[in-house]
């Protein structure tokens, strides 16, 4: 009997305890919710950083808050490196980085007001600007680096080393060539399996606009992916395959695939940072980040952007595999930042 009573009491205690535990969690929610209510005024009000911390180490700088970066997977390595370096100096700031593709980032996160910064490997589109302004988000553009878009084939594809943009357009346009021999007679009579980025990618948009050409549409015949690693794998495993991606991915996979030289009318040039910098490589393109103007009012976002734009001129960018911005561009960017932030 006494045993039963004891069990009874503990069970009731357990019930009360679990109820109370629920109450603790609710209480925990409230204390985090009313942190720094700096909603960035975009109507839906879910952008208010709640990284208020609770006394455990806001570092030396005193900055705190959360910064969300979405967007291009091409720009991702740069943003990620900047985030890591910035957070080493500012303990209280949490910068999260997520590769979603340029268009995917604008459409799903940046313009709805869920991200402060969006990377893009092409300029923002008019439709995206409209979507943003519909939510009171005003994007500010910064060019932070240059890229040499790289067209790669299998290492064993010994028949081709150099192609013209027009030939690439023939392969990558809708209803274009599907066979190597359709491009040049000396090419083998083999189908070309294509691997490339998905439609949400800025790399896709840039290639579509500048190489495939305005009169044509990008083929849907290729294997689309957000993941450059998949493209490299596809080319590596298939002798006749072809695909394109940012130079940084080629740089770290240069033994696995062969990059094509591109002949833009001034002879064949290989993709390299030097050639992208001096403009001799025809598929060189700028990389951008966009920041929401309202978010710049938050000290941590402003400081991070300043850090980013300053460091974009250094060797960090080069090591990742992109062309760093020039000192002129850096100064221009910093002036633009101060203007946008109203400083």
């Amino acid at each position: 009997m006494s045993r039963k009573d004891a069990g009874d009491v503990t069970r009731r205690k357990f019930l009360i305890g679990s109820g109370a535990a629920g109450a603790i969690t609710l209480a925990g929610c409230t204390s985090t919710g009313d942190g720094n209510g700096n909603g960035n005024g975009n109507g839906n009000g879910n952008g208010n950083g709640n990284g208020n911390g609770n006394g455990n180490g806001n570092g030396d700088s005193g900055l705190s808050g959360e910064i969300t970066i979405k967007g291009s997977s091409t720009v991702f390595p740069v943003s990620d490196a900047m985030a890591e370096l910035f957070m080493e100096e500012h303990e209280g700031v949490n910068v999260t980085v997520d590769p979603t593709g340029s268009g995917g980032g604008f459409k799903n996160w940046f313009c709805p007001g869920d991200a402060e910064i969006n990377g893009a490997s092409r300029p923002i589109k008019d439709s995206e600007t409209e979507q943003c302004s519909g939510n009171d988000v005003e994007p500010v553009e910064f060019q932070i680096a240059g890229d040499a878009l790289t067209m790669a084939v299998n290492n064993d594809a010994d028949w081709v080393d150099c192609m013209t943009p027009d030939e690439l357009s023939q392969i990558w346009r809708e209803d274009g060539a599907t066979n190597w021999s359709e491009i040049r007679d000396e090419f083998p009579d083999q189908e070309i399996p294509l691997f490339g980025p998905a439609e949400t990618s800025g790399t896709y948009d840039w290639f579509n606009e500048n190489i495939v050409g305005e009169d044509y549409r990008h083929t849907a015949r290729h294997q689309p992916t957000e993941d450059d690693e998949t493209i490299v794998q596809g080319i590596r495993d298939n002798t006749n395959a072809m695909g394109y991606f940012g130079y940084a991915y080629y740089k770290s996979n240069s033994e696995q695939v062969k990059a094509l030289e591109i002949d833009g009318g001034q002879g064949c040039t290989e993709p390299s940072l030097a050639n992208a910098k001096d403009g001799s490589y025809p598929m060189a393109r700028p990389l951008f980040i966009y920041v929401a103007k309202d978010a710049l009012q938050r000290e941590e976002v402003y400081e991070f952007m300043k850090f980013y734009l300053e460091k974009a001129e250094t060797d960090i960018v080069q090591e990742i595999g992109y062309v760093p911005s020039s000192t002129d561009l850096r100064d221009e960017n910093l002036a633009k930042l101060d203007e946008a932030a109203g400083k």
């Binding site: 205690k13 109370a20 603790i24 969690t25 957070m87 999260t96 997520d98």
Partner: protein, 589 residues
């Protein structure tokens, strides 16, 4: 008579035997195929994660092989340290295990438990420590517990003073924790009302409120020293759970008090001993208070029963062997391998610049916090639904048909792909309810909804397994339906419910797709400091590593992450199995 066998019987027997044998062989083959492939996969991953064969110096053995009649010599390279550890650790452990297996079965079980208990305790203490570092401060927990104590005291006191006022007590059960923890009205409520009033152009409406016990304690200038608060918040509750168990088993108050005192002393010893060992005294206090009491209770039980006492030697063999091997290797100067999965991996964040320095700490914390939130949110709902469906829901007529329809659809929900739950989370919690993108709570809700049907179904199974005769007996004694459920059905069904929930949580911890859909970022370098903060989870981080273009991440770091996730999963499943066995034994005993 029996010896006379008709001629046809023999033949028929032979035919059926052949078929049966073939069927058995096929079944065996499929079982071993599944097991072997999983084993091979795990060994590959573990090899990548620990790199046990990459250490200097290494010894090469020539192993002669005789295929046909020609003699081949196959060189096998083994690092020297591995041989040392094989001698000091592997061999003794294998021999002791063999001894338990062949000679002393109960000792094997004891060995398993004495080894497993500290591991589970260490995991729990790691969780507590992480909570202190990332979510709560010690003083907050102290204030919360004190407030809870006041609330429980109020409820208990009311039950003593006015035992018959059930409705009044219900009100107190609801109100007392709210007042103690959040005040009346809670600060958040005032903030919301004042915020709305501010928007409407009116000044603050609610200016006075009753402060909660928690707030009062936090505001008081006389908070005790940190270690005293730690002893009070961590050690005391654990002691309060285990000391009464011991007291009841030994039927002596003194034994319980002794255990409590002993635990407190061991925990407090940390103030002196921990700095000497080079660990923080906080770590010591937490680890000691979570490990010592359960282990002491278990060991006491083994010693008292005098069954399988040889099993207590197993942890000593293990620890002693490891220590001896380590000392020997250090003395001789053999190289140790450099595993990917090491202490740094568990405590660092992802690093873009160095695969060696990369770690899984923020996602680990995120996963633990998600699990915690899932348990709080889903367990009561799931079990409540299961109780209703099994015990209260009508089973006949039109309403009964409707209930059957609901049950079928819960079954269907359990089969809905996880991506769909991610989409639901995105649309409902982020877009409609404006919760923060990629927050722990959103991930917990999305994954929680995913496992909710599984929890309901397993809880239903557990409740259904309680024999009807027990219910009828309870009714026969004049018990009401509520009393029957509370005192007869739930206690019996509880182990089953617990097992089902833990297994469902095992599924929850590995889910990736919903987390991708709700925008959990690829790279999070700070562990979340609250349930509404952005966080990551282990499978999300592993997915990201699979896409890094430096192969060191794709192979080494990824493997270490997978092993970490699997270890957590295996421990959870192991706990479920142990709980089930324990409760089943208690039932039959």
């Amino acid at each position: 008579m029996a010896a006379e066998t008709p001629s046809w019987a023999q033949q028929a027997g032979q035919v059926s035997r052949l078929r049966g044998r073939a069927f058995e062989a096929i079944c065996l083959a499929s079982t071993s195929l599944a097991l072997v492939s999983v084993m091979v996969l795990l060994l590959f991953v573990a090899n990548d994660a620990f790199r046990p064969f990459e250490a200097e110096p290494a010894l090469t053995f020539a192993i002669p092989v005789l295929p046909g009649l020609e003699l081949f010599v196959v060189p096998v390279v083994l690092p020297a340290y591995l041989l040392v550890f094989g001698a000091t650790l592997g061999l003794p452990v294998a021999l002791t295990a063999l001894y338990y297996y062949r000679r002393d079965d109960p000792a094997g079980e004891v060995a398993y438990a004495t080894l497993g208990l500290p591991i589970v305790s260490l995991l729990v203490s790691a969780g507590v420590l992480v909570m202190f570092i990332e979510v709560l401060t010690v003083s907050e927990l102290f204030a919360t517990e004190l407030a809870l104590l006041v609330a429980v005291g109020a409820i208990y006191g009311h039950a003593r003073l006015r035992p018959r006022k059930a409705v009044e007590r219900l009100a107190i059960i609801i109100v007392a924790p709210v007042v103690a923890l959040a005040g009346l009205p809670p600060a958040m409520f005032n903030d919301i009302v004042n915020g709305i009033a501010g928007l409407a152009g009116v000044g603050p409406v609610l200016t006075t409120r009753l402060f909660s016990v928690r707030e009062l304690v936090l505001a008081s200038p006389f908070l005790p020293v940190r270690w005293v608060m730690l002893l009070a918040t961590v050690t005391l509750p654990v002691v309060a759970i285990f000391a009464p168990i011991l007291a009841r088993r030994r039927e002596s108050r003194e034994a319980g008090l002794a255990l409590g005192g002993l635990s407190m002393i061991v925990a407090a010893l940390g103030l002196v001993a921990a700095p000497a060992l080079g660990v923080g005294s906080d770590v010591w206090i937490v680890v000691a208070s979570v490990t010592v009491p359960p282990l002491a209770v278990y060991v006491e039980g083994v010693v008292r029963r005098r069954e399988g006492m040889a099993g207590l030697a197993f942890p000593l063999v293990l620890i002693g062997g490891a220590l001896a091997g380590w000392l020997l290797v250090q003395q001789v100067g053999f190289g140790m391998p450099d595993p990917w999965l090491d202490w740094g991996f568990l405590t660092n964040a992802h690093s873009r610049f160095s695969a060696e320095k990369t770690g899984i700490y923020p996602p680990l914390v995120g996963s633990v916090m998600m699990l915690f939130a899932i348990v709080i949110l889903i367990f009561p709902v799931g079990v409540g639904a299961a109780i209703y469906l099994e015990e209260y829901a009508p089973s006949q007529g039109l309403a009964g048909k409707f209930v059957t329809l609901i049950e079928i659809n819960i079954g269907n929900l359990a089969g809905v792909p996880s991506v769909v739950y991610g989409l639901l989370g995105l649309a409902l919690f982020i877009r409609f309810l404006s919760m923060p993108v990629g927050a722990i709570i959103v991930g917990a809700l999305a994954v929680g909804l995913l496992i909710l049907p599984i929890v309901i179904i397993s809880a239903q199974e557990a409740i259904r397994a309680v024999p009807d005769s027990h219910r009828e007996a309870s009714y026969g004694m004049g018990a009401t339906r509520w009393q029957t459920i509370r005192d007869v059905v739930l206690p019996q069904a509880f182990p089953g419910i617990l097992t089902g929930t833990i297994l469902a949580l095992g599924r929850a911890i590995g889910e990736t797709a919903p987390l991708l859909m709700i925008g959990m970022p690829a790279i999070v370098r700070r562990a979340p400091d609250g349930f509404f903060a952005t966080g990551s989870a282990m499978p999300r981080q592993i997915f990201r590593w699979s896409k890094e273009f430096d192969p060191l991440y794709r192979h080494g770091v990824l493997a270490a992450g997978v092993v970490t996730l699997l270890v957590v999963l295996l421990i959870m499943n192991g706990t479920a199995i142990i709980l089930r066995n324990k409760f089943q034994r208690e039932e039959t005993a």
